[in-house]
Amino acid sequence: MKKGFFNKKSNIFSLLIIFLFLCCSLFAPLISPHDPYEIHLDSSLRGPSRSFPCGQDNLGRDVLSRLIHGSRVSMTVSIATVSVSLIIGILIGSIAGYFSGWADELIMRLIDILLAFPGILLAIALSSVLGPSLKNIVIALSAIGWTGYARITRAQFLSIRERDFVIAAKSSGASAGRIIIKHILPNALSPLLVEASFGMAGAVVAEGALSFLGLGIQPPYPSWGSMLGEGRDYLLIASHLTIFPGIAIMAIVLAFNFIGDGLRDLMDIRETK
């Protein structure tokens, strides 16, 4: 085996970043130096200072505390979106891949239809119609997110179901459900894991975009995207309102992308060995 997952500095670093943000979101009220909703109108838009390391926003609220609380939104949305999409994607993808025929054709056309709306257009339209809330963001993002996992699951199933151990299980009379869950799925998981890691990064960005446009998390609750959206009005005088939430998003997106790359390298090594 070549280099392992933990021998690479960028992987360790990414895990640390994710761990840090996870801690922030879990213990937000304990860690944040100020109340994220506390208004100080006399010191609004002030830049970073000793007691407010990331500065204050237009209502004088502490940007650092809002960032820490905002990590809850990013983490919740990305974990929930990826989990929901994974479950739906695996379920539908296994049906398409295992049974083929008309079920496969139907499911693939459904995926084609959803992918005919480029980018997050459909998510934007959906969340605008459903109304802004955490739950609706997850619904809107998962409504499209599952397609990627379904395609991967299907492709995996198509190649695995021809392998000897599956044929052996089939000929010994195992039911379809048993073959799918016990024999094929465990062997199909690795590319899904890689995709899920990239999916986490994608969900953070998508949530940010929705909140930035005012279609996601509503004020006064802090989300990195909505903080960037509010910061847009003060670019001229208070650029710290834009820079800090932006860096937070970049850091977590970078970390999830590195983990995805690292996992992919790891899987490739195993497959070629």
């Binding site: 239809i113 005919a116 446009l213 995207g225 834009t242 970078l254």
Partner: protein, 310 residues
Amino acid sequence: MRKFLIRRILLFVPVLLGTLTIAFSIIHLIPGDPVDIILGENALPADKDALRKALKLDLPLHRQYITFLSGLFKGDLGYSIYTKQPVIRTVMERYPATIELALASIIFSVLFSFPLGIVAAIYKDRWPDHITRFFSLTGLCMPNFFLAPILIIIFSIELGLLPVSGTGGIQNIILPSITLGFGMSSILTRMIRSSLYEVLNDDYIRGAKAKGVDNFSILLKHALPNALIPVITILAMQFGSLLAGSIITETIFSWPGIGRLVIQSIYARDYPLLQGCLIFISLSYQFINLILDLLYAFIDPRIRYEKGVL
């Protein structure tokens, strides 16, 4: 070839119908009465009834669907609630700006990624390559709603070189096209780098070197044309998504394209207009992909056989 053509075009029909159905059902996904949401609950009953009639919400669902589809065939997407204008006209007015921005960002990403990718391939694993990697990593993980404000801070506020938003001259399109094209150029850079590096180590390049061809001609005449094939494929595929992926960029820079129209119609709760945008964007996206597929099948015989089997 004919079999592939027929199959690809036949598959286009159900997908088309599906996307139209999704666009149609958008207004029905609104929790509660759409008319209440659009006009507010305290609106006069007469106004509500008039709007319900105008949106054809008083008809049974299947009748609504049939009127919707038959209207589409006549090029009728209904009327905008606020401007009272035909949706199709508003959408058509906005579309040229979006195409203009998409083209500009393609030009930007080509200008940006080709030199970087070439330099990175030639100096692989040396400092120019590392700098390039930094750029493409940034492009990969920097969402455009962060990139755009940063560009505005640097080029409009600090340097005072470019306008913050709006349209008009060529200077107005620079920042939006960088914002939209940066992500794509980072993908392109990495592709050019790996593709060119592979080609540069091929036998025929070694042959050309042995023949005494100078490095510049090798790069320009021998290596680049072959390295560019996968790159151009990606470029073409990205164009379709650029036409729609500009929602945030257009909103930030007040660019009068169809992406901003989507957001404006959402803010105004102008659902017929939103519906029209959805239909128009997904139709043009599907159409571009269809044409690309057919073109590739025409150029590369392997594709039509593979897909014919599927």
